[in-house]
Amino acid sequence: MNFPIYKDIYNSRDWMTFQFESNGPKGRIWKVIQFTRMRKRGYYNLALGDWNGGDDLDFETVTHNGDREKVLGTAAVAVFAWTERYPRRKILIQGSNAVRTRLYRMAINKAWNELNKVFLIRGLGRNEANKLVISAYDPKKIFEAYIVQRRPLNEFANPPP
């Protein structure tokens, strides 16, 4: 995996919330990753954002702290940690806007070889009838969100292409 990572991570007792410190030109910024159970059975949303420690926790900001790859790399490894504990759960990853979702696509593409070994990644997008469907990940296709699952251990060594 080409991404550097932040190695010090705080976690909640139930491993649903993680926190780590982004360190860059704009200073130190706390990043929070939270997994939230969805009404659709087996699905959990992954949210990544800034946390200033105040009451307004719903950040949609892009910090530009010069460490985007490091933050996303840390998030990817945090997903691995989470799926160590909850291997059957499906994770929905959706950017806060189209630009963010495209950013995630670029990050997935860049680390595809490594990610594909341990995660089954699929896309959530529209078909010709404008119906929302789950399909195999296509690095060139624009999806509205991604669904990530941990691969069974016996698939680790030889993931399908």
């Binding site: 995996m1 990572i5 190695k7 010090d8 991570i9 705080y10 976690n11 909640s12 007792r13 139930d14 649903m16 919330t17 993680f18 926190q19 929070v32 939270q34 939230t36 969805m38 009404r39 659709k40 699905y43 949303n45 949210a47 954002g49 946390w51 926790l57 719903d58 950040f59 949609e60 790399g73 990817a76 490894v77 945090a78 691995f80 940690a81 160590e84 929905l92 959706q94 806060s96 490594e114 990610l115 070994k117 341990v118 959530l124 929302l132 469907v133 789950i134 509205e144 969100a145 680790f156 060594a157 030889n158």
Partner: protein, 49 residues
């Protein structure tokens, strides 16, 4: 290096992480920190259903 070893990239990174329990994060249990994001996700998944 055998094939299994080459496939340890994320596993190796995972082993480098230093996790620490945070009472502050514990106190946020059942608190949705990103309600707008979660709301969008719920809407998307409901459409999928």
């Amino acid at each position: 290096m055998n094939k299994d070893m080459k496939n340890q990239d994320i596993v190796e990174l995972y082993s480098q992480l230093r996790f620490r329990r945070s009472p502050e994060l514990d106190s946020l249990r059942n608190t949705v920190l990103f309600p707008r994001k979660v709301s969008r996700a719920q809407t998307l998944l409901e459409e999928l259903a």
